[in-house]
């Protein structure tokens, strides 16, 4: 039995909440995986900061066009109905509240909705990209993440200790163990792995998990 969801399974779960026709921005890296798991019959329109709406999967190796890339600088393809635009229009879409969903990775998420996902501290070269813009404006900002850090420490906290990306911006967290909403400064548990007890989940969560009605089973396919 799986003790936690794989990244693919977390991505799959997040994908189930994306409506047909939604405009969606997926953060660089792990969040990009969400695109693979759209339920049959639904088609989201994906936005990338560098000025493309309506892109599809990566092209076959060797057929890349390096003027057709996503924010992670990976080659993409276009779907019918795609559009190009410049960076100011692209971030007007982001900041202006036109995206339905942004799904991002996280180092830490606080019960206040604060997110830390751009800097692990003062060492090295800082780089922020579009993260601070994406957390503002999208109608729904969700995070997908392992429930704990690689060394087992909670990533869901009362307050972030790492530099913030945004204040009070995250409304739902899909983790390797649970689906948790952020409401009025609280973590509200919506779904958890069936085999995991509430207490065990609470033990690896850095802030109080609240309940608001029944907690559903978090069940995903094997992926």
């Amino acid at each position: 039995m799986t003790s936690k969801l794989s990244n693919a399974q977390i991505a799959w779960r997040a994908a189930q909440d994306i409506a047909d026709g939604a405009y969606v921005n997926l953060g660089i890296g792990f969040p990009e995986m969400v695109a693979k798991f759209q339920p049959p019959g639904r088609e989201a329109v994906f936005h990338t900061e560098n000025g493309v709406l309506g892109f599809g999967e990566a092209p076959a190796p060797g057929t890349e066009d390096w003027d057709l890339i996503n924010a992670g600088k990976k080659a993409i393809t276009l779907k019918p109905g795609a559009a190009f635009f410049h960076h100011a229009d692209s971030f007007a879409m982001v900041r202006g509240g036109h995206l339905d969903v942004a799904i991002l990775g996280a180092y830490q998420v606080a019960e206040t909705g604060d997110l830390a996902n751009w800097s692990t501290g003062p060492k090295g070269v800082p780089a922020v990209g579009g993260a601070m813009d994406l957390v503002h404006g999208a109608k729904r900002v969700a995070v997908i993440t392992d429930h704990v850090t690689k060394d087992g420490k909670p990533k869901l906290l009362q307050a972030c200790t790492l530099p913030l990306t945004g204040v009070g911006c995250v409304t739902r967290v899909y983790t390797s163990l649970a689906v948790i909403d952020i409401e009025d400064g609280h973590f509200v548990l919506r779904e958890k792995l069936p085999a995991l007890s509430f207490d065990d989940l609470q033990a690896v969560t850095g802030a109080t998990l609240h309940l608001d009605g029944a907690v559903a089973d978090l069940i995903t396919p094997e992926l």
């Binding site: 795609a82 971030f91 007007a92 900041r95």
Partner: protein
């Protein structure tokens, strides 16, 4: 995804009393005449929507389009830059009678306020109107030794715009100078309805030639061979038609 709406009546069905409605166009060029007339039809049939705040560069011309909307008494307030033109009698009479409110905004500030509304910029500074009556009551601040006026964004519940091509995703192109305020208003409204002269399949507009990406558009309704305000006014048209 298919944002097509079958009829003009459906396209304007959701607009409520008291709504802020942006209407595209500069004079008649780019004005969504058929959408406006559909709104008038609805008002005549149902008494709604009324008490509208309309954002447009002008105040209509003659007795069609925006002028006809104003003539019906549906508009409580107009936000515009230039409510004077060849035949703005409808607006002028109501305004001088104190029956319609006017917020006068310099044209470039109007355009920028609408863009700001669409782009999530709640306020910005502009040199325009500094030291004039139109800056009264607005914060002023100096940058690099020059004074600027702070202006707020402008948003709307609905935008009614006119485009040339529109695909099912709502991607739009515009015909010549009929572009004007249309792409900006599309950005700034919670719900943007575009009348398009030609509805095309996704892929029917080259991605590089899209002017308004579909994310800014909630519905399109095809109106082939749309009327041109200038031509209607030269024919002394009235909407609804005056029956003798």
């Amino acid at each position: 995804m298919d944002k097509r709406i079958a009829t003009l009546a459906e396209a304007v069905a959701g607009i409520e009393d008291g709504a802020v409605v942006m209407i595209g166009g500069f004079g008649g060029s780019g004005a969504p005449i058929e959408l406006i007339h559909a709104l008038i039809d609805r008002f005549i049939a149902t008494g709604s929507p009324k008490n509208l705040t309309v954002v447009n560069n002008n105040a209509g011309n003659g007795h069609v389009g925006l002028a006809a909307l104003i003539e019906q008494g549906m508009v409580a307030k107009l936000i515009c830059s230039f409510p004077r033109s060849a035949d703005p009698k409808v607006f002028t009479e109501l305004y001088l009678a104190g029956k319609i409110a006017l917020e006068l905004v310099p044209q470039g500030t109007l355009a920028e306020r609408i863009r700001a509304g669409g782009a999530g910029i709640p306020a910005f500074y502009t040199p325009t109107s500094y030291g004039t009556d139109l800056a009264q009551g607005k914060p002023v601040e100096e940058f690099d030794g020059r004074p600027y006026v702070r202006e707020r964004w402008l948003k709307a519940d609905v935008a009614l715009i006119k485009a040339e091509l529109g695909d099912h995703h709502g991607n739009l192109t515009f015909r010549m100078a009929a572009r004007n305020f249309n792409p900006l208003m599309a950005m700034a409204a919670a719900r943007t309805i575009a009348q398009v002269s030609h509805a095309v399949e996704p892929g029917g507009i080259e991605p590089e030639q899209v002017i308004t990406p579909g994310i800014f558009v909630q519905g399109i309704v095809e109106v082939p061979a749309p009327a041109q305000e200038e031509a209607l006014n030269r024919a002394n048209a009235h909407y609804p038609e005056v029956t003798a």
